[in-house]
Symmetry: C2
Subunit: 186 residues, 2 copies
Amino acid sequence: MRLPELRVMGVDPGLTRCGLGAVVGRAGAPLTLVKVGVARTPAGDDIGARLAAIEVEIERWLDEVRPDAVAVERVFSQSNLRTVMGTAQASAVAILCAARRGLPVALHTPSEVKAAITGYGNADKAQVGTMVTRLLRLDAMPKPADAADALALAICHIWRGGTQNRLAAALAKARPAAVPAKGTAP
Amino acid sequence: MRLPELRVMGVDPGLTRCGLGAVVGRAGAPLTLVKVGVARTPAGDDIGARLAAIEVEIERWLDEVRPDAVAVERVFSQSNLRTVMGTAQASAVAILCAARRGLPVALHTPSEVKAAITGYGNADKAQVGTMVTRLLRLDAMPKPADAADALALAICHIWRGGTQNRLAAALAKARPAAVPAKGTAP
């Protein structure tokens, strides 16, 4: 059975730079870049204004990209305390925007993403960027690194989601009515 | 000059229990309870559904309470790693809801709240609950503790906000047109 194509929006959450990237494809087939960019908010603004600005930008992306699923980096609190709070708050906005639309949200850890893209869970940013550029057949590495990371998240989700997508497709096929499974529609 | 009354909604953020409490009053005068409660989301639900449910509940409260300002507990990552991420994400939803309406958002640390309410920054939950009950002339201590903490946040903001409110009121008075300063309108 051929897997359905999945249109995935990846979010590398952050207040100062929130990486956004959308990819369409299926496991075992060439992937295509849909859109890549970064939402920035001024460090001097208060947290409410920054989260509201990120919400506006993510909503705009969701309207335009119309993804089947949203993949967000899972935040850990090992790193810098101040940064991690902002990252967790920005990720909450991305998750909320997706959930409100009934889109499936997947959280992938940085090492899951690195392992999926480069085969090595401790790969550095340059390695991830190089592989993203190659996998999407781009002329240059997407910049800043947050934008490349968002694309890596989307690719990771398309590849890792293989099993779940097959299951969802099989369930949809087994159902009496032709209701497409959520997140697996073309 | 008499300070204007302030209607403040306090939020003690959390995914499992998000404390909500609204108080109206001014520094140096008796305070009045407007509403108190808690928004709960099932631990088994996915993060997206939980954040969306908290958003719905906070929006409902903002519609009903019509606060002049929202006070949210400032989250630190000293405590349990898993819990703190959920707390940061729930706080992001509260801050976002307030900011979208143009409401001023204030973040107060747990020790600032305890010091304001009990005079002691390391006071325990029972002490805070007792003082909240006394200050609002309630028959019984609000339960769960998250609800009492939300009221404590609102009271802390009314008291600590004194200086800023006076300044805002003075500025409003000094202005040629009678435009009320944001967050200080009756």
